[in-house]
Structure formats: C-alpha cells, structure tokens
C-alpha cells in the first residue's frame, strides 16, 4: 500500500479541538446552544443525534463556515476559520460536494490546490487519497460515472487530500449500501490508525459504536451527555436493563401510568413506554401492575442498554426521528 509521509507540525501542545460555550442562532431558532467540548489527539468523537439536533451546524462552525453568535472554537489552538485552522482541518460535508464532470484525479487535484498544495505534495496527496478510497483504478473516471458508494468515498478523499490532522466527517454514509458503508468504516479506521483525530456525525448508533471511542449526544443544539459508550450506559442505566412496553392503542392513561412506574413514553412512537429495570424478572412486576390497572400490553422487549437506549432515556426520542 502506498504510504504518504506527511510533514507533521512541530509538537503542538494544543488539543485538536476546543469548543467553549458555542452559541449559534438562526432567527428564533437556536441551532447550537452553549456547547462546550474538548477532543483529545487521536480520538474519534461521535456526534450522535437526530436530524435537526444541531450536529451539522456545529460541524460547519468548526470548519469556519458558520460564525458563532458567542463562544469560541479553536482547532489546534487556532481560531476556527483562520488560515492556520483550515490547514489542520479536513471537512467532509454531507452533500456530494464534487465537480461532476471532472475525473476522480481532477477533483482531488482541484481541492488539493484549493488547500494550497503544489508539485510533489499535491501528487503525493492525490496518490494517497486514491489508494485510501480504493479508487486508484477509477482515477480517470468522471464523477457522474461512479457508483453511489464510490462518490461517497471520493467525497471523503477530497476533504483529506492535504492530510489534515483533524477530520470532520458529516454523516459520510448517507444513502450508501451496506457494502460501501463497510468500506467507509474501514477508511475511517485506517485514518485513526494513522493518528488522525476524527469527529464523526451520524444518527446511526451502530456506526458510532463501531468507530468512536467517545460519544457526545446532541439534542436541541446541546451536548446532553458525553463519554465512552460504557460510561454513557452506566450513567443512564447503571446496571439496569432496558424494557420497552407497547400498549394497545385504546390505552389512554399509559403516560401517567408509565411515569408512576418510573418510566417515560417514547416520543413519536405511540403507546411505547420505556423502563429501566435492575433484573429481567422485574418485567413480571411491570406486567402485573399493568394488568392490575387495566392496561392492555401487546408487546414487551427486554434488551441490554445501548446508545439508542441512552438516547431514548435522555431525550425521550428515537435517534432516527
């Protein structure tokens, strides 16, 4: 495999990303509401949240494309949007931000030049990207002739041609098939193995669980929880398990009953209550209580808490809503 030897900046004491009380409003809508976040070197931080949670605005703020109303963002100690910060940062937007009539190589060359690369550095950057994205054999193909998965990979590569130390991946697997998604996971893992710090936004829990060592759950423009998966589960559920109880549609007093039993109703999923139980046998207690109070239960699910459970617990909403 081709190995690209990039020039590492002299030992920088600054951490890759520091966000301090970032606030961004669009009219009456507060997209980012006082977010503070530190990302250490070589970490992979997953920004997990539903559509409209503020993930993309936060990412665009880090990329210097959104001006904060208050607070600050620093990339390796430099203000976001400054030339020094841009040089350290690679941003892969959600959209396929490519030139459709140019070839893979020409696209990489264009974005490399926009990053100030010339000569050998540019050639090496392009070669590395083509190899990394497994597009070397399609280097001369125009974007419009590529498959969806290939376009996604090229979209990622175009953000990394200058070999940044901090990479922002904004939902890079949107609209790709499982096989291509797996290839993208491998690309991210390869990046991490080379020491790149990655921030990865997604609303797919399994992606965050596989790729990220730290997860920040974002909702309504806020980071409502942050830590490793285990820490988040521990904090939300302790050693409890997660029980989902589905009531018949005729049950009207389910919310009050669920609250009385220490549970919450799941937003957007009618008649679904969500409980944390210490023992699986506690399901029997809940079913007894429901029967006693005349609630018709049509389905019960016991599962080990995962990030989705944490998200439900913290926000009362499903991750994909």
């Amino acid at each position: 495999m081709y190995v690209y030897h990039r020039c590492m900046a002299s030992a920088a004491p600054a951490i890759p990303l520091r966000i301090d009380s970032a606030v961004k409003r669009f009219g009456d809508l507060t997209a980012v509401s006082g977010v503070s976040l530190d990302v250490r070197e070589r970490a992979c931080l997953g920004l997990l949240g539903p559509n409209g949670a503020g993930k993309s605005t936060l990412i665009r703020s880090i990329a210097g494309r959104v001006r904060l109303d208050s607070g600050s963002i620093r990339v390796f100690g430099q203000p976001a949007g400054s030339a020094a910060a841009r040089a350290e940062l690679g941003w892969v937007p959600q959209e396929l931000a490519l030139y459709p009539l140019l070839t893979c190589r020409e696209n990489l060359e264009a974005f490399g030049r926009y990053q100030g690369l010339r000569g050998k550095a540019l050639r090496e950057g392009i070669a590395w990207c083509l190899e990394w994205a497994a597009l070397a054999d399609r280097a001369g193909a125009t974007v419009k002739t590529l498959s969806g998965g290939m376009r996604r990979r090229l979209n990622m590569a175009a953000g990394l041609v200058h070999r940044p130390r901090l990479v922002l991946l904004d939902e890079p697997t949107v609209g790709v098939d499982p096989q291509s998604r797996n290839r993208i996971f491998e690309m991210v893992e390869e990046l991490r193995s080379q020491g790149t710090t990655v921030i990865y936004t997604t609303h797919y829990m399994e992606e965050a669980e596989r790729l990220c060592d730290t997860i920040a759950i974002v909702d309504h423009g806020n980071v409502i929880a942050q830590g490793t998966k285990e820490e988040l589960v521990e904090r939300s559920f302790g050693r409890h398990s997660d029980v989902l109880m589905h009531f018949a549609s005729s049950v009207e007093n389910a919310p009050a009953w669920a609250a009385a039993q220490g549970g919450t109703m799941q937003e957007g999923a009618e008649g679904v209550a969500h409980f944390a139980v210490a023992q699986p046998t506690d399901i029997a207690r809940l079913l007894d209580a429901a029967g006693r109070d005349g609630l018709e239960v049509i389905d019960v699910v016991l599962r080990r808490p995962n990030l989705e459970s944490v998200f439900l617990q913290l926000t009362g909403r499903d991750l994909r809503q």
């Binding site: 665009r60 990329a63 494309r65 959600q94 396929l96 931000a97 974005f111 953000g159």
Partner: protein, 428 residues
Amino acid sequence: MVKMMAAIVLNGFRSLRRDRGALILSFVLPIAFFSIFAAIFGGMGGGTPRVTVLVVDEDGSAESERLVSALLQEPTLAASVRPETKKGEPVPPAYTAASAETAVKRGNAPAALIIPKGFGAHPVAFGPGGDRNPIRLLHDSSDPVAAQMVAGILQKVVMTSLPGAMAKVGMQYFERSSGGLTPEQRKSIESAMSRVPDGRNSTAPSGPRRDIGLVALDMRDVVGEKKQNSMIAFYAAGIGVMFLLFTASAAGGTLLDEAESGALDRILSARVSMTTLLAGKMAYSALLASAQLTLMFLWGALVFHLDLFTHLPGFIVMTAATAFAVASFGMLLASVSHTRAQQAAVSTLIILTMSALGGSMFPRFLMPEAMQKVGLLTFNAWAIDGYTKVFWRDEPVLHLAPQVAVLFGSGVVLFLIARRFARRWEYS
C-alpha cells in the same frame, strides 16, 4: 377523463405560479420584447428617426444658398453646416468637403452633401443629360438607409426650393421640342419667370449624363469603398456579444451550482477567499468569452473575408474589454440570484433585452434617437461601436478609449457589486 385532465391543468398552473423563472419567461419576456420592438418600429420615444447630414456649400450662389437653407429646414433631416458649438467656445468654422468627409469616416454622421462650385449655373435638369455639376453625396455604407434617404429627400427639397430654375429648364425643353417660340410668347414667358423667386436666364444643359434626377448626384461610400464585405464586423460583434452574455451568465451560474451542491462551502472552507473565488470564476469566464469572440472573428475572416489580421491591435483591445465586461456581468447575475433556475430566467430576460436595445438584433442607427440613447446603457452598444471603429472606420486604437473605458469601468463596478452580494455565501 375530463376531471383528470382538469387535475393535470391545475397542477400545471400551480407549479407555474411557484416557478418565478418560468413566470418571467412566459409573461414578462414577451411583454418586454413586444415593448422594445414596438418602440423601435412603432415610432415611440422620439418618432421617425431624422437622418443626420452635413452640408457644405462650395458654390455660394443664390441657388446653392437657397438649397442649403431648405435642407436646414427640412423636418426629415438633421442637417448642419458646422459642428455643434460647445458651451463657452467660439462658433466652429463651417464644414469643408475635407472636414465633412472626415466626420463621415468617424461616424459622426452617416452622410454629407457637398454642393460644388458652379452648381448655381445649372442646378437642375429633367431626365438624363445636362451639364450640371453634380452634388457630391459622401456616405457611410454601414448605414445603407441614410444615403438613399438623403438622395431622395434632396430631390424633393430641390423641387420646393428652386421652382424658378425648374420652370426655366422646363421651358428650354419645351422650346427645343416645339421648334421655337414666337417673340410674343418668349416675352410673355420671361415676364412670368421674373416673378418666380429664383428665376433668371440660363443656358440649356448639355454634357454627360450623371443621373436621372432633378439634381445630379455623385454618391461615394467614403468608409466602405475599399472593403470587401462591409457589414461582417458589425454582425460578428453584434451576435458575438449577445452569445457572450449567455456564456458569461452560464459560467457565473456555476457558482450557484456549487452553492447548491455544497462544493462552494467546501471550497471556502479551504484556503480560498470569496474574492479569490469570484476573481477566478470571472477570469475563466473572460477567457472563455475571448476565445468565443476570437473564433467568431476568425470564422468571419476565413469565410466572409473579414480583414481581421490588419486590425489585430484594435481587435485585441476590444475583445479584452468586452470579455471583461460580460464576465463581470455574469458574476453579478449569479451573485444576485438565489437559485440556478432564477438566474437562468433573469439572465435570459436581461440579455435578450440588452441585445435588442444595444443593437445586436437590429442596428441602433436605424432606431429612433431616444432608443439609440437608451441603447448606450448596454454592453452590446459599446462593444459594437468599438468593433465598428476598428473594422469599419479603421480608427486607431487610441480612438477606442471611450468604449474601452466604459466597458472596463462598468466591469469593475459590476464586479464590486457582485462581490458585495456574494457576502451571503461567505458565512452562515
């Protein structure tokens, strides 16, 4: 079936109502074009255009003075015997044959009438023949209508201003064809002739035939006489600029494509500033426009014998100025539009309007005066004027200063305005 068709019709109108671009193209553009051509051909905004003609009286006879006076009063002509007096400056001298020819060559007027010495002796003749001194009509064949109009109007003016001369010549013809007059008849006629304002004795005309009108005319194309294909440069510039505007608009539109695809965000997140990006796009657009114009004029040279290679300096200067101006215009259109569809619709409307007013579709010199002035608000008019100076009038590059200044100046201004509007893309 009818209900389904009604639903389809309803959907069509609902979609159209929300598509501003389609609305503009469907309703505003036809109205705009109708108005422009109605104004050009319908006489609105200044009435029928008067033909500018310079008049030089080398004869100084009573007949020539009467003719000059009648020409100056002729409502269908804008005749003048000397250049306009500028404010605070002395009255300039009257045109001479040489200065009038120079003025026609420079495009200050499409025609000049030179009344030669001896005109008063034999001003008119009926039909061919006569020893008349022909009036010289110097003209610029880039305006083919003006010379014909002046020639026709001159005959009419002679009829109304020199009735005595016409009567005398008529009597001479009569006398020759009838075998002579009796002394009584001659006395009676001379008595009547003395009461006609310009009546006096003159000899019967004889000599080579110069023309078949009342006054003999010697017409000479002083600008295009040595040119093989007179109007090719005009059409190359006119059509070229119109298509350049479309090209520049499309090139500028890539900004909107990139904004919609997210590529613009990505570019601006790299080390490219908005000013650099706009300047780069504009440079591309200007180079593309230059290539288009060059190809068009090369084609004109190869196929229509346009004399490109002896006019290269002027061509290069005008092409650079025109390409710069249309490129900045394309940037402005893109930066003020919110979507590609909107930009396409607005561009089509503006470009076709500018082309109609600016002379790309119909020569400006044939438009009413007011419309000609309105045309000066367009790039087309300045570019066509510049190319005409180069290829038609053979003027030196320095004479292109007004056109180059306007095109470059407006290009700079439009670019600055475009940069101002482009701020909306810089940051959310």
